[in-house]
């Protein structure tokens, strides 16, 4: 044994060979190097500034009582309550938006990858579907919100919200906002699922076909389990898009901070009623809004940011767990 080991002390760390010195570089190259370092560090600094400042403000103003008390109409800031209702509103919108977006996005991706590659007609249809999803992804959310308002003020859809005193449909409710929110959540979900499906190797499908399985059985038992983590990533991204959205909330959820159910039935009344979310609460309490209570805005913004950061962390965890279990990583941030 010892005869085989050479009698040389190995260095603790792997040694690197001599590399070219920056001093020999051209000036333009040195400048680019500097710019690259500078850009990276600046971005880090900006992010750190936002996170640290919001964290500082949040810790300064956030009190546990704020999380559990409803907003109150009051002259002084001391009596205006907390943001329990906006928290519930955010959760409610997510709960409405994701169940609409997820099946749509997953079925869309399945159709495009598994069925849309056939003839020429189908392939062109595939392109149309893909580009329309891209357009939805690129549309500003305020435009989506306006469009939603136009739709939900139709008389046919008065059951979504409620009819006002003058006979006009109000068009603003949790259902309306949640439905439009699903459009916001759909593109990242679709892209994550599609990329996951595309990353499943062809021989995996063929293995299922070779066992005498039909295409639909293959999708249900082989492909969907394979892209489970991609779907989870997509859902997480969609949730973070929904809870971060402001425009749709302001246009489609009314301007009340408190949950205002409509009608008798408790569950349905809540869905048809108006309310607020963390984003609209922050907006309302910022110096630009009516409330003008920056302390509360900071506290709510801190909670919101915490949610989004946690969701991003979750996305990364899912992707890493998937990668370590032998799958391919297909993390696509925002479309």
């Amino acid at each position: 044994m010892s005869a085989l080991v050479p009698d040389v002390a190995l260095p603790a760390a792997p040694q690197r060979g001599r590399r070219s010195s920056v001093r020999t570089w051209r000036w333009s190259d040195r400048l680019v190097l500097l710019a690259a370092w500078g850009a990276g560090l600046t971005l880090c600094a900006v992010t750190a500034a936002i996170v640290l400042y919001m964290g500082y403000r949040g810790v300064q103003y956030l009190r546990p009582a704020l999380l559990f008390s409803r907003p109150q109409v009051s002259q002084g800031q001391a009596g205006s309550g907390g943001f329990l209702d906006p928290l519930l509103g955010t959760a409610l919108l997510t709960v409405i938006g994701i169940p609409i977006a997820a099946p749509l996005a997953i079925c869309c991706a399945l159709w495009i990858v598994e069925y849309g590659q056939g003839g020429r007609v189908r392939r062109s249809l595939t392109r149309v579907v893909e580009s329309s999803i891209e357009i939805v992804a690129g549309t500003p959310d305020i435009v989506i919100a306006l469009f939603g308002l136009a739709i939900f003020q139709l008389h046919v859809l008065s059951f979504v919200s409620f009819v006002g005193e003058g006979g006009g449909v109000y068009g603003r409710s949790f259902l309306a906002a949640g439905t439009m929110m699903s459009l916001i959540a759909l593109p990242p979900l679709f892209v994550a699922t599609r990329d996951g499906l595309l990353a499943v190797p062809a021989h995996m499908r063929e293995a299922a076909y070779a066992l005498g399985k039909t295409r639909i059985a293959t999708i249900r038992r082989v492909l969907l389990p394979s892209v489970r983590s991609n779907i989870a990533t997509g859902v997480t991204l969609g949730v973070s898009r929904i809870i971060a959205d402001t425009a749709i909330v302001i246009v489609l959820l009314g301007d009340e901070l408190r949950l205002a159910p409509q009608g008798g039935a408790p569950g349905l009344g809540l869905l048809r009623g108006t309310g607020s979310t963390l984003t609209s609460y922050v907006f309302d309490n910022s110096p630009a809004g009516e409330g003008d209570a920056p302390q509360k805005a900071y506290a709510a913004a801190f909670v919101l940011m915490l949610f989004v950061l946690l969701l991003n962390l979750a996305v990364e965890r899912i992707a890493r767990a998937h990668a370590s279990s032998g799958g391919s990583v297909a993390v696509t941030g925002v479309v």
Binding site: H203, E206, A207, Y209, A210, L211, G212, K213, R221, G326
Partner: protein
């Protein structure tokens, strides 16, 4: 300098000529897909009906459940053959006609014939991948398809369970008979349950070991069989694939946690679980280390008792080790087909000789 240039030009022209010749060789008449109209799809609980009499002179009675072990029938002791001696030709034994059939059977293979290919040709669009291949595949023997890359081995293999149909541009002509029935008349799912396949990459599904095998066993039926019904079948399949001893402690482990060789054996277990008649293997060991390869080759040796095995391999040594019959393909043609010993030791075609000697590949 001028000289060098001229020589290069000549070289290019020669290359071009060679390509032209190749193209003329490759060109074949327009292919058509043979479709048989008016044939109802067979029901799922398909039972073999007596085969078409014109197809085979004397087909062995086909059975859905392959006989557990069909040992090679001991050949009838033939009377000493009469050799007519003709100058300039190899002596050819002439046997009495009643002995010919028995000798042919003994030479051809052990068990009953499972698959028969007659003039099978496959094309992708205008490109012909496989041209006029006729051979038969018997239970109890391993047929190795060898040949350089792109010679159509894998295409031929995938045609046997109609996986080529997944490629929209693929067209097929000729007939493939599974136990005397054209595979085109079977439902694709029914066919693929009888002609199973193992792929180059180990590809277990993202579920537990148990579920991987159980997935293959479950029919597309409304009633899902219960665990207790499936368990003995799953264990039996794992045992036949030589994997059970290694995984018996925890059948509910995710299959992707297994090593590469174990994954491939799981894929084999999955493929043989529904008791298919033919097992197709597309370079099953090319992604594995030598030890796993050895285990799988042993397994192939075992499996051929109850199955007909067709294996595509790039590895001549492997073909040497596992094959009873060898088919050598080149540019879509079946160049040589015969017992492994003959193909490797005294190949008839010069192409085969060059290939098995490693002159090209």
């Amino acid at each position: 300098m001028r000289d060098v240039h001229n020589r290069y030009k000549l070289y290019c022209v020669n290359l071009y000529r060679e390509e032209l010749t190749l193209k003329t060789i490759v060109r074949t008449p327009q292919m058509t897909v043979e479709r048989t109209p008016g044939i109802a799809h067979t029901p799922r609980d398909w039972q073999p009906t007596p085969p078409v009499p014109t197809v085979q002179p004397a087909p062995p009675a086909p059975t859905v459940q392959p006989a557990p072990t069909v040992q090679p029938a001991p050949p009838v002791q033939p009377a000493p053959p009469v050799r007519t001696i003709v100058l300039d030709r190899d002596p050819e034994p002439v046997r009495p006609p009643e002995q010919r059939e028995a000798v042919r059977r003994a030479l051809e293979g052990a068990g009953p014939e499972r698959l028969r290919l007659r003039d099978v040709a496959v094309a992708y669009g205008a490109k012909v991948a496989v041209r006029s291949v006729s051979l038969s595949i018997h239970q109890g023997e391993v047929l190795a398809l060898i040949g350089p890359s792109g010679c159509g081995k894998t295409t031929l293999l995938r045609t046997l369970n109609r996986l080529t149909e997944l490629t929209p541009s693929a067209t097929r002509s000729g007939r493939i008979l599974l136990d005397g029935h054209d595979i085109h008349e079977l439902e694709d799912t029914a066919l693929r349950a009888r002609v199973a396949m193992v792929f180059q990459q180990p590809n277990p599904f993202p579920m537990s070991i148990f579920d991987n095998v159980a997935f293959a066993l479950r029919e597309q039926s409304r009633r899902r069989p219960r665990r207790a019904e499936l368990e003995p079948l799953v264990i039996d399949a794992l045992r036949r694939a030589g994997l059970y001893e290694e995984v018996k402690d925890d059948l509910h482990r995710p299959a992707l946690r297994l090593s590469g060789g174990q994954q491939q054996r799981l894929c084999i277990a999955r493929a043989i679980a529904p008791r298919p008649e033919v097992l197709l293997m597309d370079e099953p060991c090319s992604a594995l280390d030598p030890i796993s390869t050895g285990i799988i080759e042993e397994l192939i040796h075992e499996l051929r008792r109850e199955l007909a095995v067709v294996i595509v391999t790039h590895n001549l040594a492997q073909a040497h080790r596992v094959a009873d019959k060898v088919a050598f393909m080149y540019l879509g043609d079946l160049v040589e087909y015969g017992p492994a010993r003959q193909v490797f030791e005294e190949p008839r075609a010069p192409r085969t000789r060059d290939y098995v000697r490693g002159a090209f590949g």
